[in-house]
Amino acid sequence: MNSNIPFLNASIAQALDYTAPILFAALGGVMSENAGVVNIALEGMMRFAAFFGVWGSFVSGNAWVGLLWGVGIGIVLGALHAYITVKWAGDQIISGVAINVMAMGMVTYLLESIFRTTGYSPPVAYFGAPASKIHLTFLKGIPILGAFAELTILIWFALILVVVLHFVLYHTVLGLRIRAVGENPHAAETLGINVFKIKWFAVIAGSVLAAFGGLALSLGTLSSFTNSMAMGKGFIGLAAMIFGKWTPFGALGAILIFACAQVLQLFMQGTATGFAKLIPLGFYLSLPYMLTIGALIGVVGKAVGPASDGVPYKKES
C-alpha cells in the first residue's frame, strides 16, 4: 500500500490548499463577529484583495508587495465597513452587501482598465511557485505529515492564525474585551471600555484576514486574478464560521470537513467505475455542500453566536 502514500499526502495537501482561503475568510468573520459586527462582505473583501494583490505583484514583480497591497485594501474596506456600521450605527448587512456589490463592479472595472481584459489577469509572482514554498523535506514520504512538506507560506500562516486567534480571543485582555463587546456592549461600555474603538479594531482586523483569504486565492494557489475567483468562497467562509460556532478551531474543523469532501468528490469522480459511473456528475459536485448540511443535522446542532452580533451599537442620547 506504500504507493498510496503520495496520493494520500497529495490529497491532504490539496485539501489544505482548498482550506486556506476559506479559513482566512472564516477567521475574519470570527474576529469581527466576536466583537458584534456581522461581516457578510467577506466575499467582496476577498475579491478586492485578490485583485489588489495581483496588481501589486504585477507592478512590482514581487509577491510580498502584492501582499501589502492586498492588506492595504483590506484595511480600507474594513475602515469603510466600520465607518458605516460602528461610527454611524448603520445596518451591518446592508453595509456588507454594499461592499460585495461594489466588489463585483469595481474590480471588473479596474481589471479592464489595468489589464485590458474583463476576465483574467496575466500571471504574476506568487507564493505557490516551487521556489517560494516552504520546504520541509524531512517530512516527505511520511504518511499524512508528508502533506506538510511543501506548502505555501499562506497556508502555514492560515493554520498558525487559528492558534493565534484562539489565543488572542480567549487568553488576552484584548480578546476578553472583544468578546465582551460582542456579547453585551452596554455592559462593556458601563465598565468604561471604549466599545467603538474595540469594534473598529475588530472590524478592520477581520477585514485584513478576509483580505488574506483573497490573497491566498490569487497569490497562493494561483498566480493570477480571475473574475470568478472568490465566487462563493467568502460565503462558504461565513457559513463555516457559523458552523464552527464563531470560534477559530470550530471554523477550521468545519472547513476541513468541507475541503476533504471536495477532494473526495474529485477523487470519486475521477475513479468512478461500474455503478459509481452511473451517478450523475451533479451529485458528485454537490456532495461537499450536502455533507455540510448533513453534518449540521447530524452532529453539530444549534449554533448560538455572540449575543449582540449584528445589532448596531448606538450610544443612547
Binding site: W88, S286, T292, I293, K315, S317
Partner: protein, 382 residues
C-alpha cells in the same frame, strides 16, 4: 388624500415621514456623484457615461426608448421577484441568501412544465397558470427546506441557504440539464428542449418582448404588502422579525406558532423568488440553457435593501436596478466596462447603510440647530 398616501406609503405617525423617501433618493444621488468621480479618476468622461447609461436605461424618452423601456421592465420584474424573496424573509427575521437558488429552481421548474408532455399540450389559459403554480411550489419547497432546518433543528439559515444554492446549481446544471432533461441531440439544441407556445408569457408591448411578467410581479408585490400589513399571518411574521434574531420569545409565548411560520415564511420567500427564474425562462430564453449564471438572486439582496425591505420600496429599487442594467451594456459603446452600473448600485447600498449620517445631515439642514438634533433622532450620533 395626502394622509391616506402618507399612511400607505410611509406608515403614518412618523413626524418626519418624508425622510423615509428622501433618504433613498439622496443615497441614489450621492451614488451617482461618487460614480462620476470614480469614472473621472479612471480617465473617462462621466458625462458620456451617464448619457449612454440613461439614454439606454428606458427611464427617459429618446431614440429606441420603447425597446429600452421594455427591456428595463423585463429585468425589473426579475429583480423585484428576488428582492421580494429577500425582503419577505427579512420581515420574518430570516436572512435569506437563497434567492439565487430559488431563482434557478424556478427556472428549471418552468422549463420542465413548459415543455414536458402532459402539460405542453394544454391550452394556454390552463398551461400558464399551472406553470406559475408549479414554479412557486418548487421554489417554495426549496425555500422551506432551509426554513424547516431552521425551525426544527436550529440550523442557521445563512448556512443552509448558501449550501442549497450550490446544491441547486449542481443538481440542475450538472445533472438535469445535461441528463434527464437534455434536449434530443437531433434538435441541435443544448440545454433543455424549448417550451411550448402555450407556456410563453403573452407579450404586451409589441414589437418589444415585454410581457406580462411585470404585471404578475406587481400583483404579487401587492399581495405581499397586503399579507404583511393587513393580515394576521403577516402580523405574526413581523412579530418574529423583530424578535427571532435576538432570541426573544414573546411571539411564542403569545401562542404564535413560530416554527410553522418560519417554514411558511421561507416557503413564500422561495416561491416569489422562483417567479423571477420563471420569467426568465418563459419570457426570455424559452428553455433552460446549459449554463445559467444570472446573479439575480444576489442582486435581489441589494434591491431589497435599497427598497428598505418594504414592498413598494422593492418595486422602485427593482426598477432602478433594472434600468441601470439595461443601460449597462450600452456604456460599452464608449468603452466603459459594463460593470460600471454595479459600482453605482454598490454605492447606493452603501449610502443606504449610511442613512443615519444622511438623516443627520437632513436634520441639520432642516433644523439648523445642532442641539436638538440628537433628541429628535432619538439616538445615533454623539
Amino acid at each position: 388624500m395626502k394622509d391616506v398616501l402618507k399612511r400607505i406609503v410611509f406608515g403614518k405617525r412618523e413626524k418626519y415621514w418624508w425622510m423615509n423617501a428622501l433618504v433613498p433618493l439622496i443615497s441614489i444621488l450621492l451614488a451617482f456623484i461618487v460614480g462620476a468621480i470614480f469614472i473621472k479618476i479612471t480617465g473617462r468622461s462621466p458625462v458620456v457615461a451617464y448619457k449612454l447609461l440613461f439614454g439606454a436605461s428606458g427611464l427617459f424618452p429618446g431614440p429606441y426608448w420603447k425597446s429600452h423601456f421594455a427591456e428595463m421592465l423585463l429585468s425589473s420584474s426579475m429583480y423585484i421577484a428576488t428582492g421580494l424573496g429577500f425582503a419577505i424573509a427579512a420581515k420574518g427575521g430570516l436572512f435569506n441568501i437563497g434567492a439565487e437558488g430559488h431563482f434557478i429552481v424556478g427556472g428549471i421548474a418552468a422549463a420542465y412544465l413548459g415543455y414536458a408532455k402532459p402539460f405542453a399540450g394544454l391550452p394556454k389559459f390552463i398551461h400558464l397558470p399551472l406553470i406559475i403554480v408549479g414554479v412557486m411550489l418548487a421554489g417554495g419547497i426549496w425555500g422551506a427546506i432551509a426554513g424547516y432546518l431552521k425551525a426544527k433543528r436550529g440550523i442557521h439559515e445563512v448556512i443552509t441557504t448558501i449550501m442549497l444554492n450550490w446544491i441547486a446549481l449542481y443538481l440542475i446544471e450538472a445533472w438535469l440539464v445535461t441528463g434527464p432533461m437534455k434536449a434530443a441531440v437531433e434538435t441541435g439544441v443544448s440545454g433543455t428542449p424549448y417550451i411550448s407556445l402555450s407556456a410563453k408569457l403573452p407579450k404586451i408591448f409589441p414589437p418589444t418582448r415585454l410581457n406580462i411578467s411585470i404585471i404578475i410581479i406587481l400583483a404579487v408585490t401587492f399581495l405581499v404588502w397586503y399579507l404583511f400589513y393587513k393580515t394576521t399571518f403577516g402580523y405574526e411574521i413581523r412579530t418574529m422579525g423583530h424578535t427571532l434574531i435576538f432570541g426573544m420569545e414573546a411571539p411564542k409565548a403569545a401562542g404564535i406558532n413560530v416554527e410553522r411560520r418560519t417554514i411558511q415564511t421561507m416557503f413564500i420567500a422561495g416561491a416569489v423568488a422562483a417567479l423571477g427564474g420563471a420569467f426568465m425562462i418563459l419570457g426570455v430564453l424559452f428553455q433552460y440553457p446549459p449554463i445559467f449564471e444570472g446573479g439575480y438572486g444576489f442582486d435581489g439582496i441589494a434591491v431589497a435593501l435599497i427598497g428598505q425591505n418594504e414592498p413598494l420600496g422593492v418595486i422602485l429599487a427593482g426598477i432602478l436596478i433594472g434600468a441601470l442594467r439595461t443601460g449597462a451594456t450600452t456604456v460599452q459603446l464608449a468603452h466603459i466596462p459594463k460593470t460600471f452600473p454595479s459600482i453605482i448600485e454598490g454605492f447606493t447600498v452603501a449610502f443606504i447603510a449610511l442613512q443615519m449620517l444622511i438623516r443627520y445631515w437632513i436634520m441639520k439642514f432642516v433644523m439648523r440647530k445642532k442641539k436638538s438634533i440628537q433628541s429628535e433622532m432619538g439616538g445615533g450620533a454623539k
